[in-house]
Amino acid sequence: MIFSPVNIDADKLLALDVDLKKTGFLDPQLYLLNEAKGTLDTYPYFPGNLKPDFTTPDLDTSQLQLAQLCIDYQIDNDFKYMIIPTRYYVDYPTSYFEQSTDYFVTPFCEYIRAKNIDKKILLSVIVKSIMLSDEEKRNEVLNWITGHQHIDGVYLIFENNFSSKQIKDFDYLLNALKFIKILKDNQMEVHLGYTNTEALLYSIAMPDSISIGSYENLRSFGIKRFQDLESSPMRAPNARLYSSKLLQWIDYDYIQAMKKLIPDYENFFDDSEFKPLMFQPEFKWHFAKPEPYKHYFYIFDKQIKSLPDSQTDRIEQLKSDIKNALILFKRIKDKVLLDDDSDDSHLPTWFNVINAYQIEITK
């Protein structure tokens, strides 16, 4: 479990059952350094609590204090891993890696060592599209990650700027798999955050863990989630239901069309304790209703856990799942004209990515 400071008050998190925390870790969320979104400013290490109007130059003098407060808070919670935070930039400055080492990696590692903390250390890394597509930039970030002696692994976040709900970019997905593989080849633990259904695809690169997020903004990383945008208009997403058989989230209004046009439409969706309620005519679908997300947690958790342990078997299983999903979609599309965010248009790309990755790992 990954704990999110913008969503839970620091004291409440401290009071949570230790059993819940000892298998998880904290995402420190210093992406924007001093933006007090949600409950972030209740955390002792929040830069605004060290100095009002804290800015980047203040890190020169406060880096050690920030590291101490952040690590002490993580220790007090007894999380499984110690997390080193990262900053977010729209365009990364040329000195980004140097700065990140000086401001975060070195003071955090030194403090952990000085306190004799016997826990694994994960480095937070936001991977931007350019770091996947540009070989030079990719090598630079990989060299930086693997160049730290005391780091056991990464909390890896692939930034998602795609306008579609599912990722359909062949190169992006294949490069993401290669990125994970290189880290694993370097004996690093890889924990993936902010993933949607493509988590299944990423699983074939054998990462150590994959996050499952509920709302859309927890299933893809966008910096807006950490910006105080109270005055900006926000458009609520349509309610959707995940189907493990279709490997897709289907817009509820299409489910209504399926109900009218496909007699056994319910069979396209998984069974759960929440399904009977959601399929009752009087159920008021809304993106903020909890049942579709609880259903998703239950179904997707089962789907992830059912993945075979061996990479070869996992790849074959996923290919077979994609083929089956395409067959099911053909039945739906005979009657219901789905849009690009509820249809199967991501699946052929995923299938091709798996084939290309298979060639990559047998090289």
């Binding site: 209004d253 209504q256 069309a257 009218k260 046009l261 008021k284 005979d334 004209l337 789905l338 849009d339």
Partner: protein
């Protein structure tokens, strides 16, 4: 094309329409409604210069709250859609063309059916019932029993 089409609709079918109706499933360019006793029939139009497939996907969404949904393309670009008329038949979506000379031609009249979503249909009807606009000649774009 949109303004011309709106003038055409008004002149031929009356002013019982809603322009760019939001809060439903998609945003239809025009929603026409005909009230008869307690019954309300709803016809949605998606107006596009070209890209018939995208227009059809949008028009299909409108079937969630409409009895009939039409794609209206510029006459200049309608041929690729006519060549795929079976696509429109399969999904029961109307196909028509319009040009700046005010020529409106229907290539496929869809069957009148119940909307997919009772909730969205009722939401729209509740809104429609608040006004007294009248339609005329609407039967010319609705398939008759003989045509079925």
């Amino acid at each position: 094309m949109s303004l011309k089409f709106e003038k055409f609709l008004k002149a031929n079918f009356g002013n019982a329409y809603i322009k760019e109706c939001t809060g439903l499933f998609g945003v239809p360019d025009y929603v026409y409604f005909a009230k008869q006793d307690e019954e309300v029939s709803i016809i949605s139009f998606e107006l596009k210069l070209n890209n018939w497939r995208r227009a059809a996907k949008q028009a299909f969404r409108y079937k969630s709250f409409s009895n009939i949904s039409y794609v209206v393309l510029s006459r200049k670009y309608v041929n690729p859609a006519i060549n795929n008329i079976d696509f429109f038949k399969r999904y029961n979506i109307g196909l028509a063309a319009f040009d700046i000379q005010n020529e409106f031609e229907i290539f496929y009249k869809p069957e009148t059916v119940e909307p997919f979503s009772e909730n969205l249909n009722q939401k729209l009807i509740d809104f429609i019932n608040k006004n007294n606009k009248k339609t005329k000649n609407i039967t010319s774009i609705i398939r008759s029993a003989v045509e079925c």
